[in-house]
Symmetry: C2
Subunit: 324 residues, 2 copies
């Protein structure tokens, strides 16, 4: 049984959401319609909507309610990607030109603002204030996470805790609340929605660690962008942090980091990547990702044995092993 | 009776809001606390909170409810200013360094995102979905307005309608809904909140036209930034649009605009400003602003004769005549 089977099972609902997603950013403004559609059509795994739909199956599953969670979750994610690309000065994402590259930074900024505002607008269709409060708090944390990322650029003295807190804010929280809110919107008891939150948090942590690993170990073809993008912008990720702890590698890595920083990322980073690939850092990061996946699955333990539970376990395994 | 007297009458509540405003952006993140506080402390007329409080007096005035409107309104306004300054490449605002200038563009972007998210978070304390829907729609329009501004940079063929729709989205709507939502949160009948919306819309239009005029006719000392900032970035405002219609001025103005555009705004614009100042454009823009003020006051006509009504009329006159 593969991830594709889970998508197949909820395909009809996902297709519906895909259309609603596109409708949600429809605008009379020609440029915003173009930038937003460009962004949506560039694809993505739609992981957050998948989590919303699966979590919703633990209660009274109602797509007409769940869409007001799933669409904002995906839109908030996309808005943050557009703003990310401005910061990272990224030209491609998923093999497609970014908004900031196809248009410019100013347009990317307002496209992000616009999609973000649309996300809030869709969520207001639900009248449960708890949902809005959870969502807005997560967005605040997301912004703090982005700021933290800038703050720790090229900061080789950062701790593992700094890194983990940052990816929690940047990635894990949004996945956690996708699960939690999907459940809340379906009227499940709090004990269940809290467990789904915990599941999502752990899967989200593993997801980001995997993402950071792929930027070290992946190829341009697999990633849709050149590997080493993280270090070029100064983002010290888990495998790098671990590698920096190895006595023999610390000095050459610091030297490389200084060189990359001095070149403002406009330099070849293959030597740097080779050192990290040959370090224990890759294995250690993989181990930590696996541990998060284990915890995610544990969190589901007491939940009723419905199909969605099996699916969530499979998604967790997929995230834990993904190579793209 | 002056504007200062209106502020005096609601001073206690405004002081309370000022403290709450600062609390609302409090963050454990050192940089975000610094950038947000810098922004708030740089001041501003707090016009949107004033409108919320005055509109609230038409119903059951409850500051504990109104603050959940007034604070988001001011925060949304401030978030848009931070992002504006990135686009405009502005170094100063109200005589203070901008976030993008004191820190950098990336930090300004996330500071804006953060303040925006905080605004939504504060608003979620109210459980009336109508309020959230009106607010989120206005934010969407605000973003479209910002995009429109970019789209029409140096666009000398734009119509008066293009300009008016843009300033409606960019400025008037937020002021309109400050009045409307202050009224709704106080439980007034829809006929009254709609009239207050209409008042706010017209005052907002006049406010932005005045703002655009001041950028032509004001001095650096009055403005807290050099005059001509609008045209330097390509923003063709009402006095300029009107001046472009004068046969004798059109050719020299177009020539100046081409020169300013070619220099990417890094040039002296005093000749350009002199031409516009000497045109009919200034008077025509002043006339239109006055007409909006008249309409704003008319909108209040059927409302009960309470002190807040007199205050709103005075605020309208103040906006119509403001020279700073």
């Amino acid at each position: 049984m593969k991830i594709i089977d889970i998508y197949a099972r909820i395909k009809k609902d996902l297709n519906y959401l895909e259309k609603e997603l596109l409708k949600s950013v429809h605008s009379d403004h020609p440029e915003l319609r173009e930038t937003s559609s460009h962004l949506l059509k560039a694809g993505g795994k739609r992981l957050r909507p998948v989590f919303v739909l699966l979590a919703g199956q633990f209660g009274d599953y109602d797509l007409d309610k769940l869409k007001y969670i799933a669409i904002p979750m995906e839109l908030i994610h996309m808005a943050s990607l557009v703003h990310d690309d401005v910061i990272d000065d990224a030209d491609t994402r998923r093999g497609q030109l970014t908004v900031k590259s196809k248009w410019d930074n100013r347009i990317a900024m307002y496209t992000g603002d616009y999609i973000f505002a649309k996300a809030i607008g869709v969520a207001t269709q639900l009248s449960n204030p708890t949902i809005h409060q959870i969502m807005s708090k997560a967005i605040v944390e997301l912004c703090i996470g982005e700021m933290e990322q800038i703050r720790y650029f090229f900061h080789t003295g950062q701790t593992l805790r700094n890194y983990l807190l940052r990816i929690k804010r940047k990635t894990a929280l949004l996945i956690a609340i996708s699960c939690q809110l999907g459940a809340i919107a379906s009227g499940v008891p709090e004990t269940i929605s809290n467990r789904l939150y915990l599941y999502g948090y752990n899967v989200g942590m593993a997801f980001q660690i995997r993402d950071d690993l792929l930027d070290i170990t992946g190829t341009e073809k697999e990633l849709g962008k050149p590997p080493g993008s993280d270090v070029k912008q100064g983002n010290i990720t888990l495998p790098i942090l671990c590698a920096l702890r190895e006595d023999k590698l610390r000095a050459p890595l610091l030297e490389e980091l200084n060189r990359i920083r001095a070149a403002e990322g406009q330099t070849d980073v293959s030597r740097f990547l080779d050192i990290v690939r040959g370090s224990e850092g890759v294995r250690q990061a993989e181990e930590l990702a696996s541990r998060y996946i284990d915890r995610a699955i544990q969190a589901l333990g007491p939940l009723p044995e419905i199909q969605a539970k099996k699916d969530l376990i499979r998604v967790a395994h997929f995230v834990g092993n993904r190579s793209y």
